[in-house]
């Protein structure tokens, strides 16, 4: 006998309701699991953990650059989420909520580490002539690669290395805005900096990562 309360995959849910995107379907399914978890259904909470653990781990790993820290952040985040489950009213999606908890946790760890070790990384940026022209003309327009179905493995590695090499303060902004999709205001509040400072760091981080990707294509 099938369990009518068993979670549908987002793809199946989207398929059963024309016009519903996979992400909408995932949010609806999360909401249903959250309702059950808030009623004390531990299995429903474990399903939420299963659905979000990889993305949370990815965020924590890229922010802290440490597997051990990332694993602890994921553990602490889900425990905090469970302990505050009844207080969560669901104005935001469950995913956004836990991502915010994890990001805050990672930022706290980074703040602590920053006191101990000074950042040594430098930001790459395009170079200009005295008259303000690009000193080096881009050789390849690789922008269409972003639409290709399969991402080249070597390129993926270069992007991960490039992101890891972004200096503290820039890497977090880039991950929270461009990967997590948080708002400028949210990031400014979490990091304790102004919105213009967030935008400035984001721009410089994008330029630095663009340089890395450009260098990758020049070498290929």
């Amino acid at each position: 006998m099938s369990d009518s309360r068993a979670p549908l995959t987002p793809e199946a849910a989207a398929g059963s309701l024309p016009g519903l995107s996979v992400s909408d379907a995932a949010a609806i399914e999360d909401r249903a699991l959250l309702d059950r978890a808030q009623e004390g259904d531990v299995e429903a909470f474990e399903s939420l953990v299963e659905r979000h653990k990889d993305r949370l781990y990815g965020l924590a790993l890229r922010m802290t650059r440490s597997e051990a820290d990332a694993a602890e952040i994921v553990q602490d985040t889900f425990l905090a989420a469970y302990q505050n489950l009844t207080r969560f009213r669901g104005e935001a999606a469950f995913g956004s909520w836990v991502h915010r908890i994890a990001a805050n946790n990672a930022l706290m760890r980074l703040r602590h580490q920053r006191v101990v070790e000074a950042a040594t990384e430098e930001l790459l940026a395009p170079e200009f002539t005295e008259r303000g022209s690009l000193a080096e003309v881009p050789e390849v327009d690789w922008s269409r690669r972003a639409d290709e179905k399969v991402l080249d493995e070597e390129l993926g590695r270069a992007i991960r290395q490039g992101t890891d090499a972004l200096p503290e303060g820039y890497r977090e902004v880039f991950l929270l805005k461009d990967v997590e999709g948080m708002s400028y205001e949210e990031i400014a509040e979490m990091m304790g900096i102004s919105v213009p400072a967030v935008k400035s760091r984001l721009h410089r981080a994008r330029l630095a990562l663009r340089e890395k990707i450009d260098a990758f294509y020049k070498e290929v």
Binding site: D54, P138, V179
Partner: protein, 78 residues
């Protein structure tokens, strides 16, 4: 009309649609005359898209098992 440096410095605001009408015009004029900056802009826009695809990590199975065990030790038993 902007030069390359001014154009590239204005890209974030351009992508976000936050340039003033005058700035947007200055940038558009520069881009019409500067194919390298057009390529630069395209690749600037593509950078976050590529990053989103590259930065997908899976929690290693060993860590996932530890997470499960940790939560089971903290959560009420089913």
């Amino acid at each position: 009309m902007f030069n390359c440096k001014e154009s590239i410095h204005s890209l974030l605001e351009y992508v976000e649609g936050e340039l003033s009408d005058t700035q947007a015009l200055e940038l558009a004029e520069h881009l019409r005359a500067c194919p390298p900056c057009v390529d630069f802009m395209k690749t600037y826009r593509a950078t976050p898209q590529l990053a989103r695809r590259a930065l997908v990590d899976e929690m290693p199975s060993e860590l996932a098992s530890k997470l499960k065990a940790f939560l089971r030790s903290k959560l009420p038993s089913k």
